[in-house]
């Protein structure tokens, strides 16, 4: 079966011409004229985007709502089923559409803001992401361990997981890390779950002593646990390549005017503290991306 393949974007480009023109990503003017914007968010992905009794909830939903409000248009949500990687999600939801659902959104959230990624070239030297413009980092994401203080005194280093088991999500960096770093010494301790909420359930049931996942997710779910018994660890992750990364948004490359408008809205949200409030509302740790830090100057 397939996994990551960068070169099929090229082939997809040829196919995209054949698709119907309805539901195409639109220009800023078209969005303002039609008084609505379609924003793509992931389904079943608390605390970012999920539904409770059919009502959309979450950080990304609130951010999208605020953007629509500022543009003075109505918000339409497009719930994305995650494919195997973000390239697939961008293709399926923003610039080409999935072959089962030939429509796309105007704006997609939770897209990495990473120069190496946006400028990545494929095996024959072409830009992988030439179809999309990535912009507006709105938070910095990282990895986080939560543990049961009744089982583990403290997680000063990752080495304790040679002796204590720890829940991770299948096919994630925490899984790769715990099953292969340090010659696989923590491999037997890694217990696999299909999602972080299930790993945390297992921690509260005593099946595992700790869990590792996205800091946003772990801190959000910690709120519903007894935070004394289940503290957040402060360990480092030696031997791990990428320790933190920025999350932003994307539009189709020809709709940069929309990107600039949304970028201004997001920057104001961050500078006025609105973004942090949204995160706080969902009990999620917030970190401002470097781009907005005053001591750094950016071109």
């Amino acid at each position: 079966m397939k996994r990551i393949n960068r070169s099929w974007l090229r082939y997809g480009l040829i196919c995209s011409l054949a698709f119907s023109s309805t539901g195409f990503a639109r220009s800023y003017d078209d969005i303002i004229d039609s008084k609505e914007i379609t924003v793509a968010i992931y389904r079943d992905f608390a605390p970012f985007s999920y539904q409770i009794d059919g009502l959309p909830q979450g950080i990304d939903v609130d951010v999208a709502q605020h953007i629509a409000q500022q543009l003075n248009v109505e918000l339409k949500l497009r719930w994305m089923t995650a494919d195997e990687n973000v390239e697939d999600d961008l293709r399926n939801n923003l610039w080409k559409g999935h072959f089962l659902k030939r429509s796309v959104a105007d704006l997609m959230l939770r897209v990495p803001y990473d120069k190496a990624y946006s400028q990545m070239r494929d095996d024959i030297g072409e830009l992988v992401h030439e179809q999309v413009h990535m912009f507006a980092p709105y938070h910095t994401e990282s990895w986080q361990i939560i543990y049961n203080a009744k089982q583990i005194e403290t997680v000063s280093t990752i080495a304790v997981f040679q002796y204590h088991n720890i829940g991770v999500e299948v096919d994630s960096i925490p899984q790769f890390y715990l099953t292969s770093a340090f010659g696989g010494r923590m491999r037997e301790s890694a217990k696999h779950f299909s999602s972080i909420p299930l790993a945390l359930d297992a921690m509260s049931n005593g099946e595992v002593d700790a869990a590792m996942g996205l800091r946003s997710q772990i801190s959000h779910f910690q709120h519903s646990l007894d935070s004394k018994q289940y503290p957040l660890a402060e360990n480092a992750f030696p031997m791990m390549g990428r320790q933190q990364w920025d999350i932003g948004m994307a539009v189709k490359t020809q709709h940069r005017q929309l990107g600039y408008a949304v970028g201004d809205i997001v920057e104001a949200m961050i500078k006025q503290g609105h973004m942090e409030k949204i995160f706080a509302h969902y009990h999620t740790l917030y970190q401002v991306p470097d781009l907005y830090l005053p001591e750094k100057s950016h071109p």
């Binding site: 397939k2 990687n85 960096i173 292969s180």
Partner: protein, 590 residues
Amino acid sequence: MIKTCKNNKLSLSLCITLALCGAASANVTDKDIANDQVTTHDVVSYGMGLKGQRYSPLSMINTSTVKEMRPVWAFSLGGEKQRGQESQPMIKDGVMYITGSYSRVYAIDARTGDELWQYDARLPDGIMPCCDVINRGVALYGDLVIFGTLDAKLVALNKDTGKVVWKKKVEDYKAGYSITAAPIVVKGNIITGVSGGEFGIVGKVRAYNALNGQLVWERPTVEGHMGYIWKDGKKIENGISGGKPGQTWPGDLWKSGGAAPWLGGTYDADVDLLFFGTGNPAPWNSHLRPGDNYFSASRLAIDPDTGKIVWHFQTTPHDGWDYDGVNELIPFDYTDKGKTIKAAATADRNGFFYVLNRENGDFIRGFPFSDKITWASGLDSNGRPIFVEAGRPGNPMDSKDGKEGKTVVAAPSFLGGKNWMPMAYSQDTELFYVPSNEWEMDIWNEPTAYKKGAAYLGAGFTIKAINEEYIGVLKAIDPKTGKEVWRYKNYSPLWGGILTTGGNLVFMGNPEGYLLAMNAQTGEIKYKFNTGSGIVGSPVTWDMDGEQYVSVLSGWGGAVPLWGGDVAKRIKHLNQGGTVWTFKLPKNYN
């Protein structure tokens, strides 16, 4: 009776048709299915017989007459939905049953090409099938037409009306499962696997009562999982696959071990065993799961009554190249020193051809059928590959500096020396006709990757042709010696099934759109017809009213167009389609 039916127009109501055809439109019985390989007037099982040999003794169309073969009708699947048509037609009493892309089923008058009914499954929003929206065909049993859907359901339709008789959720599509293979019916049970290997699923083979859809047994294909059997409506534990967990997997990785039996299976009545192949293990990075990872990339012999695993044979232990072991295992007999050997053969994704003893799974012999194999230097006396460790893709966790790791060239590519497309075995020539592809891949670690907004370590792949002139090669292989008797080279990759007949012919479609017929002994092309879109389906043949017919679906798609590089250059001009083509000799031809 058959004559009466022949002149029916669609304008006649269906019940009149039924009244006229009474005896001719009998239900499909276990006996019909068991004898499918020798009865030439129908095709009531996937593989044209449960052994899957795809051999018909029919010889009216043969090496001398085939040049006169011409289309008698073509049927468009219609709609905007095209993409890959990988279906094998079924024929019963002058009616053809096919599936189309996007989980559609059609009943067609096999004499005229008139549509009798069409069923469109309502697919839920948000399904994410891995490799195109294909389906490989229906099963027939009683008055039912049964097929699997992209959202992992089994649906049984009335053969005369196309109305749903029963529907069963096999697995939850939200967890990544789907069904694309044709199910088979053995002793009244409909047997199916599932697709979805990359999402941390656990593969299972299941048997349902074909008449009502009640679950009979289920057998996990990953070591450590409990199997179940249902007796009087009660679910009873029926033994853990492999005895106990953790023998060939580290930690708890067996819980999400993959090994999806996504291509369905074959059955042999002689030894009363089902044969199912299993997909690659999860997670994809082999460095996370040292061990053989049972029963991934294996062939499993399963008791059709209880679902117990009787024997297993693993083609790629500790797979690190995505070499699914799903390929069909085809039972066949041969004589060795006056003794009949009950054998079975399979051509694996990994580039090796295996001949096994089908009674016990013992390795008889194996040999490369792919021209280039980099990951193993050969097979040992038990059929286990002798690994070339430098040929294993690196561990992405080793790339601490955030740079791409070294590129490993692996042949065959992950699409395999042979992919899903079924081979055929001729009882006349005693050769296997193996649709294969000569391609390799570059694999490198991709540290700059993201998944659902989370940093991720991926692997980059590019598939490349090994030869400029061709990727696809149809190979005629002698299973007794490993000798290649002839080959036919095709510019683009082959992706459709093979049919061989008593007329000394081999039929095959190619992505360029041609239905080809070749001399089964020499490979000489005897017939060529352009169907207007690429062929990725499996041809069938039957006789009706004293004439021999051949049918094949045309409609380019499947997994190949989803990959780029060298391969995309060869296929990007191929147009989609969706047509059944049916051929015969002219009536007055002598």
